[in-house]
């Protein structure tokens, strides 16, 4: 299972992770046995529809699954400077410190997650002070200034402002700067651009590309938007019903998908400027997470489903180095998408 692609150094190793939420209707199995390695310096996209478990996976990576949800089993190992940290085994206080310092998160609702009655400067300075009492005001100021310039904000204007005086795109850039304050090695971004207007969205993507090239930060994006993945991802993990059904290099997954769900998704989304091609609806609906079908969770919607798919959940298999798929039939299917 744990094949490590040559030359790539994992910084997070997720083993057999399962997360559950109790609900009045029954237990929602939000994540069902996910295995995943995140490599140093890469941009990994976790894509899926609502209910696929992608946001829960993001929260679980930081052990922040909200109650009454819980991580039922599995391990989340961080490789820090050659040693391994088992996040779920750390005492709560150490987990808190670990989070900002080693891995930080930019949430979907970032537009509302700044404190409205504090100036931007106070909020950024607080983060630094809370983690290191010894940093001088001047050092903190320099740090903050350089990060704001990295996210293309004018520090003189922004630091004195209250959040409501900033546009949505500026606030989002403040949040990104805040996530980088303690030089984390990894940043998790959950739908970082969905609430922004289209031109600002592009600007944020450019900012994130800058960060990647200048700081080498490992980035994990969580989104439902395949276009963002096409734009920015090195690798992409496609989730369906709480599992990663396909994982691989972005070009491989887009042009040579191996899972029928990935293939169906790519053929169902309208294209903006490419030559018009026929689109195909995906029949049926995503599964009820309380009452999931047996076997492969996609089989009721899959045009290729065979008997084995209705009975046995497919194992993860390596299609090629670095390309993983969970489908019984991948060897038999020819799923070509407009290869350029």
């Amino acid at each position: 299972m744990m094949v490590i692609a040559t030359g790539r150094e994992p910084v997070i190793i997720v083993r057999n992770l399962s997360v559950e939420y109790p609900t009045p209707r029954g237990v929602v199995k939000a994540i069902r046995g996910v295995n995943l390695e995140v490599y140093k310096g890469e941009t990994l996209f976790i894509v899926g529809e609502s209910g696929s478990g992608k946001s829960t996976l993001g929260l679980a990576l930081m052990n922040l699954v909200p109650r009454p949800g819980r991580i039922r089993e599995g391990e989340i190992i961080y490789r820090v400077d050659g040693s391994e940290v088992n996040l779920l085994k750390l005492p709560p206080e150490e987990q808190r410190r670990f989070r900002w310092r080693y891995v930080s998160m930019v949430f979907q609702s970032a537009l509302n997650s700044l404190n409205p009655v504090l100036r931007v400067w106070d909020q950024l300075y607080d983060v630094i002070k809370a983690h290191d009492m010894n940093v001088s005001r001047e050092e903190a100021y320099e740090k903050i200034r350089s990060l704001l310039s990295l996210v293309r904000l004018d520090a003189d204007r922004v630091l004195r402002a209250y959040p409501h005086q900033l546009s949505g795109g500026m606030r989002q850039r403040v949040m990104i700067a805040m996530a980088l304050l303690l030089d984390p090695k990894i940043v998790i971004l959950d739908e970082p651009t969905t609430a922004l207007d289209l031109l600002t969205q592009k600007n944020i993507l450019e900012v994130l590309k800058d960060i990647k090239s200048k700081l080498g930060t490992t980035m994990i994006f969580i989104t439902h938007d395949l276009s963002l993945a096409a734009e920015l991802a090195d690798r992409i993990a496609v989730m369906y019903a709480g599992k990663i059904v396909e994982l691989g290099d972005v070009y491989e997954v887009f042009y040579r998908p191996k899972h029928p769900y990935t293939y169906a998704l790519l053929r169902t989304i309208p294209k903006l400027t490419s030559v018009e091609e026929e689109l195909y609806p995906i029949p049926g609906s995503p599964p009820d997470m309380v009452n999931m079908p047996p076997g492969c969770k996609f089989h009721p919607r899959c045009p290729y489903a065979a008997d084995v798919c209705r009975e046995v959940e497919p194992p993860d298999e390596w299609v090629a180095s670095g390309h993983l798929v969970a489908c019984h039939l991948w060897r038999k299917l020819k799923l070509e998408v407009g290869v350029p």
Binding site: E49, S50, G51, S167, G169, D197, L198, L199, T200, Q201, K202, N203, L205, E206, H224, D225, L226, S227, L228, A230, E231, A233, V250, Y251, F254, Y255, A264, L265, L266, T268, I269, P270, K271, L272, T273, S274, E276, L279, Y280, P281, I282, P283, S285, P286, R301, G338, P340
Partner: protein, 329 residues
């Protein structure tokens, strides 16, 4: 093709911040908009959030009275209509909202939701007739078998199923026009095409025209591929034309900037795109709209003394194809 609905120089102004001591400020959400919709046609109205496209849709459906300009239904000014005529217009122009969760009454069964308008408009007179009509509607929108859905409440349905009920309600009164305001943006990606195809299917069967409002240009292009697209910016339509012409050969600098910035679901194509650089990324507030062309503070082709003075008119560059930009004067 006869015109079923027309917006002529329509403006909508809201007063913001009115208090006892101040008369507040006027924000123009819609500014001299002109649109036409032919019978059975599709028109995509695209723009970013806050550009006034939803307000325009509400004006088209008669839910908001414009502060200036006219709304014509088969050539008749709807705000000068007699009561009965106005009622007929409102019945003929239905609206589908973005959120299928809040647009259905949670206390009513699907039967209750769908039969009420039929009774109200006297299209059915008995329970038997209503059950039959509702069954037909449910079959039409793919909720089969209808008996299984009729007595369910909205919370027992998925988002996609709810939107199907909303569509069934919209078509139940045989409308001429459906204003669809982001009908799939809150629906799972894998279900969107089902809904779009259903809407197209109903158009073919019933000859209904669509005003399809969206921020998603790719979805707009797909849905209105045989129709027209209008691009809206800060309350004004900046560009209009046959859909593929607008999307593939955009003329207005705003449309060009948008199309250059939007990522596409194809890694090679999207990474090769060259973004048009703007002079400013700040979106002006509706309370403080720039003079002249509203895009001028951001536009890389800004001509001083011209673009900031008077708003550009519509310049025709072909049949049914115009741009509001001095570059095409």
């Amino acid at each position: 093709m006869s015109k079923v609905l027309e917006l002529r120089d329509v403006s909508v102004a809201f007063t913001v911040g009115r208090t006892l001591f101040s008369s507040g400020r006027r924000a123009k959400a819609v500014d001299r908009v002109n649109l036409e919709l032919g019978e059975g046609q599709t028109l995509a109205l695209v723009g970013e959030s806050g550009c006034g496209k939803t307000t325009t849709g509400k004006v088209a459906a008669g839910l908001i009275k414009p502060t200036e300009g006219q709304v014509l239904f088969y050539g008749k000014d709807v705000w000068k209509m007699k009561r009965e005529e106005f009622k007929e217009y409102r019945r003929s122009v239905q609206i589908i909202h973005q959120d299928p969760y809040s647009s259905l009454n949670p206390m009513l069964t699907i039967y209750g939701t769908l039969s009420a308008p039929l009774f109200r408009h006297k299209l059915v007179s008995s329970k038997e007739e209503a059950v039959e009509a509702v069954s037909k509607l449910l079959e039409m929108v793919g909720l089969v078998p209808p008996e299984e859905f009729m007595n369910k409440y909205p919370h027992q349905l998925s988002g996609g199923q709810r939107q199907r009920v909303v569509i069934a309600r919209a078509v139940s009164l045989n409308p001429k026009v459906i204003v669809a305001d982001e009908p799939v943006s809150m629906i799972d990606v894998s279900l969107r095409l089902q809904i779009l195809h259903l809407m197209k299917d109903l158009q073919r069967k019933m000859g209904v025209a669509y005003l399809f409002i969206t921020h998603d240009l790719a979805t707009g292009r797909y849905f209105a591929r045989d129709g027209y697209t209008a691009v809206m910016y800060l309350g004004t339509i900046v560009e209009f034309g046959p859909t593929n012409s607008v999307i593939l050969e955009p003329l207005h600098p705003y449309t060009r900037a948008l199309l250059s910035a939007i990522p596409e679901p194809d890694p090679q194509r999207t990474r090769m795109k060259k973004v048009m650089q703007l002079r400013s990324l700040d979106v002006p507030s509706l309370l403080n709209v720039p003079s002249g062309c509203k895009f001028h503070p951001r536009c890389p082709f800004f001509m001083e003394g011209k673009c900031d003075k008077r708003p550009p008119e519509r310049y025709y560059v072909g049949k049914d194809r115009w741009v509001a930009c001095y570059l095409y004067e």
